[in-house]
């Protein structure tokens, strides 16, 4: 009897695990199969006998593209604000592609693109993007939208940033007062922007008051809030966190604080595994009128103001000039 009980418990655990995999409508390529799939270019929609518990049946996809998988490397802000939660399912439904959204800092996203590990990039560090265009690592780079960065800090504003006209001036005051400044320190788009603002201020930040988290924007805002420090944030992430924090906007509206997002394809001619068609479809999708309209109104219901301003079809020069 005892042995029987043991057996039943073990069987129950096994059944649970196997059962879970049965319910998972996943589309992972199966070990041993994918290479062949890739060569023949067939979507894996034929039912295959699951060899392992983690190999579930493939769902039937009407009019699935030849290579259905698109890896999108993007910045944390597009995910953390929830924008891609709206846009990606829409793109998938409309085109039959399956998007794997990898949310990392812009620096890492660009690196993934440069190495051919991703198919399409949605990033916000124009100065770092240009070398990739010039080297031919990315193609079809298009302006999608912008919003702006804000400097947030403690309400009592110990460094006296409020009332300064430019971001450079504000940062200079923070450095002079040696007020705590929390930096992303992760080579993200926001961190790159912050470095350029310090350079404009003529300050090489360092010392006890300048602290780097090496984490995403949300985590960095939380650290700044606990330490009552200043930090540079994109407006979207700030608005998403506003309900939890004491920090408030101490500086906004300066032209260098513009935060510009581009979408671009990783060059499929450089890396044969890159899904050029899927990436091109995603770029086109982001520039569609309907999608641009969604971007325009996204977040208004929740925060009372839009998080992003659509710029499809514009050039960066037009944006900065106007």
């Amino acid at each position: 009897m005892k042995r029987l009980h043991r057996f039943v418990v073990l069987a129950a655990i096994m059944a649970l695990i196997v059962g879970c995999s049965g319910q998972q409508a996943s589309t992972d390529p199966q070990p041993g199969q994918p290479q062949q799939e890739q060569q023949t270019g067939q979507p894996s929609s034929q039912p295959e006998a699951p060899a392992e518990p983690e190999a579930p049946a493939e769902p039937e996809e009407p009019a699935a593209p030849e290579n259905p998988e698109v890896i999108l490397a993007t910045t944390t802000s597009t995910v953390d604000t929830g924008l891609l939660d709206v846009l990606v399912p829409m793109f998938e439904e409309r085109t039959g592609y399956i998007v794997k959204t990898i949310s990392v800092g812009t620096g890492q996203a660009l690196k993934l693109g440069e190495n051919g590990e991703a198919d399409v990039l949605l990033v916000h560090a124009p100065e770092s993007e240009k070398p990739l265009v010039e080297s031919g690592a990315v193609i079809n780079r298009q302006l999608v939208m912008h919003n702006d960065y804000v400097i947030i800090g403690p309400p009592d504003d110990p460094a006296g940033v409020k009332g300064t006209a430019t971001a450079a001036e504000g940062l200079k005051k923070i450095a002079e007062a040696e007020a705590i400044f929390i930096s992303r320190g992760d080579d993200s788009g926001t961190h790159k922007k912050e470095r350029s603002l310090w350079a404009a201020a003529g300050v090489e930040p360092g010392g006890q008051w300048y602290q780097e988290t090496g984490q995403g924007m949300g985590a960095t805002i939380n650290v700044a809030n606990e330490k009552l420090g200043y930090t540079l944030s994109d407006r979207g992430t700030y608005l998403a966190h506003k309900k939890n924090i004491d920090l408030e906007v101490v500086l906004e509206g300066d032209t260098p604080l513009l935060n510009i997002y581009h979408v671009m394809q990783v060059n499929p001619e450089k890396w044969p595994m890159v899904n050029g068609e899927g990436a091109a479809a995603f770029v086109d999708f982001m520039l569609e009128d309907e999608v641009q309209e969604i971007i325009r109104t996204f977040g208004v219901d929740k925060y009372g103001e839009p998080l992003f301003f659509p710029d499809g079809g514009k050039t960066e020069e037009e944006l900065l000039g106007g």
Binding site: H5, Q35, Q38, P53, K100, N115, G116, G216
Partner: protein
């Protein structure tokens, strides 16, 4: 304090509503950690027995590797698997990056030394005379192994609990090789990290509560198994 209360309320609401996404994330968590643990049991327990019972050159060195491996940081396992599975890596053609299978690989690397190490310690702790006695009673080699495994079952179940606990709680490897992709590779731990960075602390607390409950549930089942047949 208010936040914790809100989190518990949110957890109950999410559980009560049977939110489809939550169910999917929870099932994937069980599937990935469960498969990785099962695989590590299949390899780790025989390996542990072998290292405990066999005598060969380099045995101590191997044991030291296993023992060091018990502390494998999940991010290191994640990095190794990433390097192998990236398109530029040796197994890039398999297209396994950012799939549950990749997560299972990484978690297997984390769980294997844990299971092997505990199994090795458990079997090694048995009285060596027991072996002679069993053999003297005319048991075959396989019967001997089976009896020793039965004898060491307390330790072996501890090995399984340790391996499972190690993988279900890790976030570093899952994030790196899974990518926390909505509906595909998002598990409870990576979802918790994401919700914190989104500022949704109540959802993060709810996810944590569900994760802790899940760990307890599985551990409880294994503990029942472990303690069964113990003299009262």
């Amino acid at each position: 304090m208010e936040m914790i209360g809100q989190g518990i309320v949110a957890a109950l609401k999410m559980l009560a509503s049977g939110d489809a996404e939550l169910v999917r994330v929870t099932l994937l968590t069980i599937r990935v950690a469960g498969t990785a643990t099962l695989l590590s049991i299949l390899v780790g327990i025989p390996l542990g027995c072998l290292l405990a019972l066999a005598r060969f050159r380099g045995r101590e060195f191997m044991i030291s590797l296993i023992n060091a491996g018990m502390g494998t940081p999940p991010v290191v396992a994640g990095l190794v698997v990433s390097l192998l599975l990236w398109r530029s890596g040796p197994f890039g053609y398999l297209k396994l990056m950012y799939t549950p299978t990749a997560m299972i690989f990484a978690q297997f690397i984390i769980a294997l030394p844990l299971v092997t190490g505990f199994a090795l310690a458990g079997i090694g702790q048995l009285n060596p005379k027991l072996q002679d006695q069993i053999l003297a009673l005319g048991a075959s080699r396989w019967q001997l192994y089976w009896l020793l495994i039965r004898e060491a079952r307390l330790s072996l179940l501890a090995a399984i609990i340790g391996g499972f606990g190690g993988v279900i709680s890790e976030v570093g490897a899952s994030t790196m090789v899974g990518g926390n992709i909505l509906g595909r590779t998002r598990v409870l731990t990576t979802a918790t990290v994401m919700e914190v960075s989104k500022g949704n602390f109540d959802i993060a607390i709810a996810l944590s509560i569900i994760l802790m409950f899940l760990i307890w549930l599985v551990t409880y089942a294994l503990t029942r198994l472990q303690q069964r047949g113990r003299p009262q």
